[in-house]
């Protein structure tokens, strides 16, 4: 087999030319023990976070470990992701590590830490490529939301009933096939009937902006990574109309 000596007319490796130089995490805390928590968290090392949180808890209050260690650490991870330094798995691993650390703090506190707000997530009919909801769940967890994950193949009635009981600030739905996304407008209609004007973010494969913005409550999500910021908006009281104006169009 013959290989071309000059490939410049064939392809350009933009990934290499634009690679962002790796950065170390910034120093977040002057407390050596808490800074250690941060570093382990930024490294996505779950066992390491558990160890350093245990150590920190010997000297600090659990809420301080959370507020001055785990949360700023996760913020640092988000920054590295936003700047193109981190890849998704690094964020997920840090999120897993944070959840493990919080769990230890909660054990010490003797009660669960209050979450920011509740988000319900679901997939009306699963497809073999459907990983969107898995990512959405992990990112929402990492951002401090309580995630009620209904999983795949969820009937419309169950989604509506869960929203009635849990009163989430936001509902998400992912679908990959056009023939399953018909569930979305029916879900939205069910919520409206109960007077629940919950922003309903829909996304995934075949789900188009045009379709989602054709029914009330619907906001089109282009990418799973948008979920946390959308949830913040909803938590801060934005209506679905305001969210649609901000995120779509």
């Amino acid at each position: 087999m013959k290989y071309a000596a000059d490939t410049s007319g064939i392809f350009s490796r933009y990934d290499i030319s634009i690679e962002v130089a790796r950065q170390k995490a910034r120093e977040v805390s002057e407390d050596v023990l808490l800074q250690k928590v941060v570093e382990q968290l930024v490294a996505g090392d779950e066992a390491g976070v558990e160890a350093s949180v245990e150590l920190a808890l010997e000297h600090e209050e659990p809420m301080k470990v959370i507020n001055d260690g785990l949360i700023p650490g996760m913020k640092e991870v988000s920054r590295l992701w936003a700047e193109g330094v981190y890849f998704l798995p690094q964020v997920i691993l840090s999120s897993d590590a944070m959840m493990a650390g919080i769990s230890l703090c909660e054990k010490r506190l003797g009660k669960p830490v209050k979450k920011k707000a509740t988000v319900v997530t679901h997939t009306p009919e699963g497809d073999i490529h459907d990983i969107g909801q898995v990512i959405v769940n992990a990112l929402l967890n990492a951002s401090g939301f309580e995630v009620v994950n209904l999983g795949v193949d969820v009937p419309v009635e169950q989604v509506v009933e869960t929203c009635r009981l849990r009163r989430p600030v936001m509902l998400t739905g992912t679908a990959l096939m056009t023939t399953t996304m018909t569930a979305f407008p029916r879900t939205a209609a069910g919520l409206r009937e109960l007077g629940l004007d919950i922003p309903f973010v829909c996304g995934g494969g075949a789900v188009t902006e045009e379709f989602v913005t054709s029914f009330d409550l619907g906001i089109w999500g282009r990418d799973a990574s948008q979920a946390p910021e959308m949830a913040e908006d909803a938590m801060n009281g934005m209506t679905w109309q305001e969210m649609r104006a901000k995120w779509n169009g």
């Binding site: 490939t7 490796r13 030319s17």
Partner: protein, 457 residues
């Protein structure tokens, strides 16, 4: 007529013609050469229904469509791309609209160049609003408007083009009547004369603005014939007539380059291989990857000597894999990557042979676009350059002779009889252009939209 008609072949042999290389490459503003050794994809998105309502919605539509194409190049590592926007009528009717869209796209291209080093260029194709039925081709508001639109777009575009319509009123009448004489009159005499008036003005504007005068295509005539000929089950127009129209189209579209256009010729100019043989200028082509716009029996062979590889037109919307401009950029870009691989490997002659063999004997149209046949037709054009009429007639006759002389090109009985009839009709036509024009002015005087004054006849 003052226009000097081509009298020689730029390529001394069809064997020297190859995709990706033209004897006279041109450069877009970012420095990328067209015809300089690599095939470049040319993507043509079309705005959705409703987006033409106002400038704002149209700007947004093209921002997405053109942006999606640029982004796809980065995602897949394509080294370069040309984006063509064919004006919907509103963009030419309001020259500012065309200008703002050109400005916006030039800005997007600059951004991608700065951020990633992507080489890209923008072709603005003005809509020819001059309907022969409703407007004088030279002296009417519509005629002024298209020139104004050229001026406006030339400031930002890399390339300006048009698909001019001179002669369409006669060709629409003739093509559905098996009237090869009418097609010759429409394409060579009327189309040629209209271009001779139009193109020096376009070239002047391009020179003033520092952009490239791309070229014209006989979309309004030869492509209508090709579309009507359709596929193997179609019964609208014989394929042999569509092939003759293509040969005649070469004599017509050549006028743009004789007036100073430098290429790249437009994708839908299937006559471009003939023109490249004569002029040595770079040409765009479309084939299988323009199936989104229309079917064709020459899906691979049209790539044989192309410099840009295009999709004709795809309406903006979502597919599973992304928006149509992204999807078609991917397909065009990989087609180009394969051609460029062959160049880098020294296997370009072999790849070209595969393209040619795919379609050479599939249909008459594919046959006559093979480089060797295209070159022969070109030679007939330059050797019969007494007039636009004489060269187009010579092109058609040569085309017919070559088709009939190759036993491997098969015809249905109907196609063959039709072709023999066209040949007889062409051979019986007068030698001198003046006589031919007199004959046609009389023959077509009752055709509703035909106004000889539009052509100063």
């Amino acid at each position: 007529m003052s226009l000097k008609l081509s009298n020689s072949m730029a390529y001394q042999s069809p064997d020297l013609m190859m995709f990706g290389s033209a004897l006279k490459p041109v450069r877009v503003r970012c420095g990328m050469a067209i015809g300089g050794g690599a095939v470049i994809p040319e993507i043509v998105p079309h705005p959705r229904l409703g987006s033409e309502q106002n400038l704002k919605t149209l700007l947004r539509e093209f921002e997405r469509a053109n942006g999606d194409a640029l982004e796809q190049c980065i995602l897949l590592g394509f080294p370069g791309i040309i984006i063509e926007n064919e004006h919907v009528s509103q963009m030419t009717q309001n020259p500012d609209w065309g200008k703002e869209i050109a400005r916006q796209t030039a800005g997007q291209i600059d951004d991608y160049y700065d951020k990633y080093g992507l080489s890209a260029g923008y072709r603005a194709t003005i809509a020819d609003l001059r309907k022969p039925e409703v407007a004088h081709l030279r002296r009417s508001d519509r005629a002024s408007l298209i020139l104004e639109a050229f001026e406006a777009c030339a400031e930002h575009a890399d390339i300006i083009s048009i698909e001019s319509v001179g002669g369409k009123e006669i060709s629409d009448h003739a093509i559905i009547r098996n009237d090869v004489t009418g097609m010759l009159f429409a394409q060579a005499v009327l189309g040629g004369r209209d271009m001779e008036w139009l193109w020096p003005q376009i070239v002047g504007i391009a020179k003033k603005r520092g952009c490239i005068a791309g070229g014209d295509t006989d979309c309004a005539q030869a492509n209508v014939a090709m579309y009507l000929a359709g596929g193997f089950a179609s019964k609208d127009v014989p394929h042999s007539l569509a092939a003759l129209c293509r040969a005649m189209a070469a004599g017509r579209s050549l006028v743009a380059y004789e007036c100073g256009a430098t290429g790249p010729g437009k994708d839908c100019g299937y006559e471009n291989p003939i023109i490249k043989a004569i002029t040595g200028l770079p040409m765009s082509a479309e084939g299988k990857t323009s199936a989104c716009a229309h079917l064709s029996l020459c899906g691979n062979v049209t790539a044989a000597v192309c410099d840009l590889w295009a999709n004709e037109a795809v309406e903006y919307h979502e597919m599973f894999g992304g928006t149509t401009p992204a999807v078609f950029t991917e397909m065009l870009g990989y087609d180009a990557a394969m051609m460029n691989s062959s160049i880098a490997l020294g296997f370009h002659k072999e790849l070209q042979a595969c393209m040619i063999n795919s379609d050479r004997y599939r249909s008459p149209h594919g046959y006559i676009l093979c480089p060797d046949i295209a070159w022969e037709i070109g030679k007939a054009i330059v050797e019969n350059n007494d007039s636009m009429y004489s060269r187009a007639k010579a092109a058609a006759l040569k085309c017919g002779q070559l088709m009939l002389s190759d036993a491997r090109l098969r015809f249905t009985a109907y196609e063959r009889d039709s072709l023999l009839g066209y040949m007889k009709e062409l051979e019986a036509l007068p030698d001198r252009e003046g006589d031919f024009i007199d004959m046609c002015l009389k023959k077509y005087e009752r055709v509703k939209a035909f106004k000889p004054a539009s052509y100063e006849l």
